[in-house]
């Protein structure tokens, strides 16, 4: 008898649980799901999402995806669980488009005119604009003004000043430029281009051409011959032991008078008390201009989000506002992509203005075609090998053939 009673009681509990679940969520506010990466930019996006929510009477849920945001977004889209909006670097566009995960944006001419030209070019792929840019970054030369008052005009001058400081014991290293055990083609690009190299050529339309691989051209070998001369077997300026993890401590600790890095170092540098200034990365004497890569962060409308109209509203009308741009600058110290926001920021922070000027004058957009993904690893390893003293001609041609074998 009591057994039957227990059964009834448990059944009643289970049913009660079911009912409680079914009652929730009958009338809910419209909601927008945004995925963004970690760091200060992610937190700023959460704050901005809250503003959009308040202004429009909707729920905005900004989720921070600290690792592999791009991969996770593609996988989630495929599984039908995509967010409405995703934030990411412009060089993801090629992969996101080939996986049918983002929609093109129809930007009015007025909106386009408000942005720096390079920013719009960066988010244009196959003639379509895919993202609403917000930050635009490039690397520059930081110098310790206590050790080096004037900016060097050439790489040779930089090496000479650095060597002097090193031999007089005022510095232990000449230049904090990340190479690492497997290379870093992003940070070496100014030297690579100044030496006569390029990664992909462009078609008449301005799109990158995967068939025109600059790494396979003689210019790349010539550039790497110059890089080798700066390496461990030569001037000792470039070293595989210098990585993205230790450049900041080398520079801020006064051990290296020069550092090549981006504006994302500014918030931490300001806390260290080192006196510094910013100038464009200098070219080799008599060489080509030293071109840093321009990278743009942008907001994208997911193809398979649940609430596309609201997502488009957020991306095209809210994310393009100057106050959004300045709020993101305050959090990240990145250069705003919007002209009006940049003008506001420049007035209060001349260093960010210098980063932007260097980018506008010398920068080249980092290729966003899917073939670029094939370049990083082989070219990086070739760079590390050459910095370590390997023969540039055979090493670079091996990297070029490894890249060509993988471009479909």
């Amino acid at each position: 008898m009591h057994r039957a009673r227990a059964l009834v009681a448990i059944t009643a509990l289970l049913l009660a649980g079911c009912q409680a679940g079914a009652g929730a969520g009958a009338t809910e506010k419209p909601s927008l799901l945004i995925w963004t990466g970690g760091g200060p930019g992610g937190e700023a996006t959460q704050a901005l999402g809250a503003i959009f929510a308040r202004e429009n009477g909707v729920d905005v849920n900004v989720q921070i995806i600290p690792e592999d945001l791009q991969t996770q977004f593609v996988t989630a889209s495929q599984a039908g669980r995509a967010p409405d909006v995703v934030m990411g670097a412009h060089d993801w566009i090629g992969n996101l488009v080939q996986n049918a995960t983002i929609d093109p944006l129809q930007m009015t001419d007025d909106t386009k005119a408000g942005y720096q030209d390079l920013a719009i070019k960066a988010v244009t792929f196959n003639g379509q604009v895919y993202g609403m840019p917000y930050t635009m970054n490039n690397i520059v030369l930081f110098r310790n003004t206590a050790l080096v008052p004037d900016a060097p005009r050439s790489m040779e001058e930089l090496v000479q000043k650095g060597t002097q400081l090193k031999s007089s014991g005022k510095a232990q290293e000449i230049l904090a430029l990340p190479v690492g055990p497997t290379g870093d083609p992003y940070h070496i690009n100014p030297l690579f281009t100044s030496g006569g190299g390029y990664i992909f050529g462009t078609r008449d339309t301005g799109d990158f051409d995967p068939a025109d691989l600059g790494v396979a051209k003689p210019g790349a070998t010539a550039a790497y011959a110059k890089i080798r001369a700066l390496g461990e077997g030569g001037a000792g300026v470039l070293k595989r032991s210098i990585t993205t993890d230790n450049i900041l401590s080398l520079f801020s600790g006064g051990k290296a008078p020069f550092m090549i890095s981006g504006p994302w170092q500014l918030p931490q540098l300001q806390q260290t008390g080192v006196k510094y200034d910013i100038s464009p990365v200098p070219p080799f004497e008599g060489g080509q201009p030293a071109r840093p890569f321009i990278t743009v962060d942008a907001a994208y409308v997911a193809s398979r989000g649940d609430n596309k109209a609201l997502a488009q509203e957020f991306v095209t009308n809210f994310w393009s506002r100057p106050d959004t741009g300045t709020a993101l600058y305050t959090a990240t110290s990145s250069v705003p992509a919007l002209k009006e926001a940049l003008a506001t920021v420049r007035a209060g922070d001349p260093l960010v203005g210098k980063v932007s000027d260097a980018g506008v004058e010398f920068g080249q957009i980092m290729p966003s075609i899917p073939a670029m993904a094939v370049v990083w690893d082989p070219l990086g390893k070739a760079e590390a090998a050459v910095v370590g003293g390997a023969d540039p001609a055979s090493t670079i041609s091996a990297a070029a053939s490894a890249i060509q074998a993988q471009i479909k």
Partner: protein, 519 residues
Amino acid sequence: MRRKLGLGADGTASPLGLIIKIVVLGLVAAIAVWAAFPLIGTGNWLGLAVLLLVTAVIFSIYLSPRAIPAKYLIPGTLFLIVFQVLPVLFTLSTAFTNFGDAHRGSKDEAVAAVEGSSVQQVPGSTVYTLTIATDGEPGSGDIVFLLTDPATKAAFVGTADGLEPLNDATQNTDGKITEAGGYEILDIAEVSARSADIVEFSVPTDRGAIKNQGLSRAFEGTPQQAYDAGCDCVKDRTTGQTWTANDDDGLFVDGQGQALAQGWQVNVGFRNFAEVLTNPVIRASFLKILLWNLGFAFGVVLITFALGLLVALVLNKPGLRGQRLYRSLIILPYAMPAVAMMLVWRDMFNTDFGLINRLFGLDVNWFGSAPSSMFAILLVQLWLGYNYMFLVSTGALQAIPADLTEAAQVDGARPFHAFRTITFPLLLVALAPLLISSFAFNFNNFTAIYLVSEGAPFPPDNPQAGATDILITYTYRLAFGGAGAQYGFAAAISVFIFLIVATISIVSFRRTHALEEIN
């Protein structure tokens, strides 16, 4: 009187046993109901049939008086199927496709993506100020766009039939229509509720169609590229360029061999397996990598076990002071996250700024030459792994009766002789399966390589096969490091690695049967 089916049919009588049974079977039923709705929603009838069958089997077995062995076997069997057999089958089936970046969906999805991403604003057309409304009830009426031309303030209504002038509309200062006779203007919540209908909706015009961009703007656009089923190709309206479908590769390809970005998933037969066997890069480096892979996995097991056992023996002496403290200290690193420890070790091996070179006054580029890089990796694994071996050896040592070694000593055997002939063989009986599983784990120990050396050093003429690469890091680079994720190719490689590890494990387990005869 014998009942056929029932909670107590198999003799479960205690109240606790019955309650556990009720709760567990209730959970099974709840999970089945929870899983059934999405299956019904997506029309996956095969999945639903499997779900019903599995649930029915579970209930009939646990409510029946018979089938006693099945009561014990069914949980393990189900978990084996779900967590072992299904992933293996899924990997195997993926290996026969080109699934990966640009080849994730169906051909229809690729066509929709090609057309959708080629929509461009009609040159010289108006960008309208938009108000989304319905003709009828907000929740069910047909969607209409109430549009104003920002320049002329002229108002229009766009329906699925086309664009018509709208006379009785009230506009606010931004030109947005706030009221129009006969139409229900949707607020933001109502727009969101109709989101799927709005995505489908467009106003046809002579030159294309008017679509919304957000909530307050609409533009007249037309897809530049359209799929033509007649030629099974995609045509560009302005340039006339065509891309013909290639169903072997899952791509639209033009005359010059250039493909559109969006492709689709197709079956490629044994092509991935053939690629693994014939790729010249893989062929040139496979044997070297396999040898180091075996050496690495075997070496890690050997050195961690040797050191772990040595320490366990030393600390196993009865009456040792501070025995517990020593044991706790040795186990401590085992409790730290291995991933973080590997990164710390990697930085300690830095040539110019690392602790190891500074401490010993060396100038070794640890990851610059093959022997030093291998040494560094083994050292890190030794530090990370000997604690575990210490732990299991201590446990096994304590399980060996002391009178065996005492008897040997009485017979005049020296301690090492006694250890070698009695303790060690008995230990191996207990630990051999652990050593084999440790080998299998280390054979595919991705992080041990990837976080410490990344496979470095790489020969200058081959950036793809490093001297410390093991099969899994090497194939990860081939399948994911290059042209996006190639899951089909990666799955084919996994099948090969699975065969290698399975062969080694089967042979080893056979050999351990010989050990058990000591007992």
